[in-house]
C-alpha cells in the first residue's frame, strides 16, 4: 500500500512538472504583454494619447522635445502596403505555378530555393539592399540619397515572398482533386481550372498567407533599418523614413528618461498592431478549418 502511494505521489509530481513546463509559454506571453503595457503607458500619459499617436513631428533630442509618432505609424503602414502590393502578386503566381503546373524536378529545386530565401538572416537582406538597392535607386531615379521608403518596400517585398509562397502552396495543394477534375471535364482548360476553381477553393489559405506577410513586414527591423535612411520624416517614396520598429531600435542605445519611455510606448503600439494581425490570422485559420 505504501509503495503504491509513493508511486502515485511521484506520478502526480511529474504531472505537475509537465503542467508547469506547458504553462511557461503562457507565462512568457503574459510577461511580454505586462512589461510592454507597464513600461509603455507612462510616456503616453505624459505626452497625451492624441499628441502621441497623431503628433506629426518626432524630435526626441531637440531642446523642446516633440514625441509625435504619426510619421512612424504611417511609414509602417505604407511600407507594409507597398511590400504586399509587390510581394503578393509575385508570390501568388509563383505559388500557383509551383503547386499546379511545375514539373516535379523544377518544383523541388524551387521549393529548396524558397526555403533558403526564408532562412537568410535579415541583416544579410539589409546589407545587400544597402550595397545594391540604395545606390541603384539613387542612380535610376536621380535622387540625392537612395536610402528611402522605396528601398525598404523592395527589401520587405522580397522578405515576405517565402511565407506567401509556402502558405499559398500548401492550401492550393490541399484543394480536392475532384474539384479540378470536374472543371476539366466541363471543358475548362487547365489554367482556367487553376485560377477559377483551385484558387477560389484555396482562398482562405491564400488570405492567411497575405496576413502572415503583413505581420512579417510590419515587424521587420534590422533589414529596414539598413536601407530606409532612418530620418523621422512623413512617408514619401524617395525620402529617408523611419518605421515603428526602427524608431525603437535606432534610439534605444542612447536614450533615457521620457525619450526612452516614449520608445517603449512605440513598442506597445507596434505590439497592438501585431495583436490585431494575429486576431485576423486566427479568423482566417478558423475559416479554413470550417471550410475543410
Amino acid at each position: 500500500m505504501a509503495i503504491k502511494n509513493k508511486k502515485k505521489l511521484i506520478e502526480n509530481v511529474i504531472h505537475g512538472i509537465f503542467l508547469i513546463l506547458g504553462l511557461v509559454t503562457v507565462g512568457c506571453v503574459l510577461l511580454i504583454t505586462v512589461y510592454l503595457i507597464v513600461s509603455g503607458i507612462p510616456a503616453i500619459r505624459e505626452i497625451g494619447l492624441v499628441d502621441f499617436l497623431f503628433g506629426p513631428k518626432w524630435a526626441s533630442t531637440a531642446a523642446e522635445p516633440k514625441y509625435g509618432i504619426l510619421p512612424f505609424i504611417l511609414t509602417s503602414i505604407y511600407g507594409t502596403a507597398g511590400a504586399i502590393l509587390i510581394g503578393v502578386p509575385i508570390g501568388f503566381f509563383t505559388a500557383v505555378y509551383l503547386a499546379k503546373q511545375a514539373p516535379t524536378r523544377f518544383k523541388t529545386v524551387m521549393e529548396n530555393a524558397i526555403s533558403l530565401l526564408a532562412g537568410i538572416p535579415s541583416v544579410v537582406y539589409g546589407f545587400v539592399g544597402m550595397m545594391v538597392l540604395v545606390p541603384g535607386i539613387r542612380k535610376v531615379f536621380n535622387v540625392p540619397d537612395g536610402a528611402s521608403l522605396l528601398a525598404a518596400i523592395i527589401v520587405l517585398a522580397v522578405m515576405i515572398l517565402p511565407s506567401i509562397i509556402k502558405v499559398s502552396m500548401t492550401s492550393l495543394e490541399a484543394v480536392p482533386k475532384e474539384y479540378e477534375d470536374a472543371s476539366l471535364a466541363l471543358g475548362a482548360t487547365p489554367i482556367e481550372t487553376y485560377f477559377r476553381v483551385s484558387v477560389p477553393a484555396a482562398k482562405s489559405g491564400i488570405a492567411t498567407a497575405v496576413v502572415l506577410g503583413v505581420g512579417r513586414a510590419i515587424g521587420e527591423a534590422m533589414a529596414v533599418m539598413m536601407v530606409s535612411g532612418n530620418a523621422a520624416n512623413m512617408p514619401s517614396l524617395f525620402q529617408s523614413v523611419r518605421f515603428l520598429t526602427t524608431a525603437v531600435a535606432s534610439e534605444m542605445a542612447y536614450s533615457s528618461g521620457l525619450q526612452q519611455q516614449a520608445l517603449f510606448s512605440i513598442a506597445l503600439v507596434l505590439f497592438l498592431f501585431i495583436m490585431l494581425i494575429n486576431a485576423t490570422l486566427n479568423f482566417f485559420l478558423k475559416g479554413q478549418k470550417e471550410g475543410a
Binding site: L31, F93, Y97, P121, M131, A249
Partner: protein
C-alpha cells in the same frame, strides 16, 4: 490543338495567366540566384584565415571575427540547453497529460502569439526583464534567454507533431504491462519523438543564427574573446550583429561581405540539414 477552338477572350485570359506565372516564377528564381551568388562572390574572397582566427585589434588596425563566431556558438548552445526541456516538456504535457481543453487552448494560443511577435519586441522586453530586472546586464546569457522565449513555439510544434506519430497502441501496450505514466513517457514516447526534437533543434539553430534585432540590446556589441562561461556573463556580438555593426556603423564593407557569405553558407547548411534529417527519419519510420 483543342485550344484553337476557344473564343478569343478565353485564349487571352489563358495567355495572360500563363505569362504572369512565368514572370513571377522567373522573378522569384532570379532573386534567389542573385542573392546567393552576389553574397558569395563578393564575400568569399574576403574570408581569410586571419579574419576567422583573430579578434579585432585597434593597435594593428585589423579585424577578426573569431569572437563573433564563438559568441554565436555560445548563444546557440545556451539557448538550446534551456529551450529543449521547456519546449519538449510543454509538448509532452499537451499530447500526453492535458485533459482540460481550456488549458490546451490557452497554451496553443500563447504559442501562436509568441511566434507572431516581432524580434525587436523580444529584444526590448528581454532588455527590460533579463538585463535590468534580473540584473544580468547586457550579456550573452540575457540574449540566450530572450531567444529561448522566441524559439519555444518552434520546439513545441515540431515535438508535438512527432509525438502525434507515436502509435497509441505502443502506449497502451506499455500501460498494459503495468508501466506508470512517467515510465511510458520515458521509455516509449520520448524515443519516438526524437525526430521532432532534432528537426526543432535545426530550425532553432537557423533562427538563432539569423537573429539580430532581439540580440542588439540584450547581448550587445562587444568583440572580446572569451571562454564559454566568461562569455555567457559578458556582452558580445554574434555574427549577424557584427555584420550590422561593421556594415552600418563602421563602413567595413569587406568584413561585412565576408560575414554575409559565412552566414549564407551556414543558412544553406542548416536548410540542407533539415531536409536530410526529415528524409532520414521518414525512411526510418516507414521501415
Amino acid at each position: 490543338m483543342q485550344h484553337n477552338s476557344l473564343p478569343a477572350r478565353r485564349k487571352l485570359y489563358i495567355g495572360m495567366m500563363r505569362v504572369l506565372m512565368w514572370l513571377a516564377v522567373s522573378i522569384a528564381g532570379a532573386l534567389v540566384l542573385f542573392l546567393v551568388s552576389y553574397v558569395l562572390i563578393k564575400g568569399i574572397p574576403n574570408i581569410t584565415w586571419e579574419l576567422l582566427s583573430t579578434k579585432p585589434s585597434y593597435l594593428d588596425g585589423t579585424i577578426g571575427i573569431l569572437p563573433n563566431i564563438l559568441n554565436t556558438v555560445y548563444i546557440i548552445l545556451a539557448t538550446l540547453v534551456v529551450v529543449l526541456p521547456l519546449g519538449v516538456g510543454a509538448a509532452i504535457y499537451l499530447t500526453e497529460y492535458a485533459g482540460n481543453q481550456k488549458i490546451v487552448g490557452m497554451i496553443e494560443y500563447a504559442a501562436e502569439t509568441l511566434s507572431g511577435i516581432p524580434s525587436i519586441i523580444y529584444g526590448l522586453v528581454g532588455m527590460l526583464f533579463f538585463c535590468q530586472f534580473m540584473n544580468m546586464q547586457t550579456s550573452l546569457l540575457a540574449g540566450s534567454l530572450t531567444l529561448v522565449i522566441m524559439n519555444l513555439p518552434t520546439i513545441m510544434r515540431t515535438t508535438q507533431e512527432s509525438l502525434k506519430t507515436v502509435p497509441q497502441s505502443y502506449r497502451e501496450g506499455a500501460f498494459g504491462l503495468g508501466a506508470g505514466k512517467w515510465r511510458v513517457i520515458r521509455t516509449v514516447v520520448l524515443p519516438g519523438c526524437v525526430d521532432g526534437i532534432v528537426t526543432g533543434c535545426i530550425l532553432a539553430i537557423g533562427r538563432i543564427l539569423g537573429e539580430s534585432a532581439a540580440l542588439l540590446f540584450t547581448a550587445g556589441f562587444a568583440h572580446a574573446l572569451n571562454g564559454l562561461f566568461d562569455g555567457l556573463t559578458s556582452a558580445g556580438a554574434t555574427l549577424t550583429v557584427a555584420l550590422y555593426v561593421y556594415a552600418k556603423e563602421q563602413g567595413e564593407f569587406e568584413v561585412a561581405f565576408a560575414i554575409a557569405a559565412i552566414l549564407m553558407v551556414l543558412t544553406v547548411l542548416v536548410n540542407l540539414g533539415a531536409t536530410l534529417v526529415g528524409k532520414y527519419f521518414k525512411r526510418k519510420n516507414s521501415v
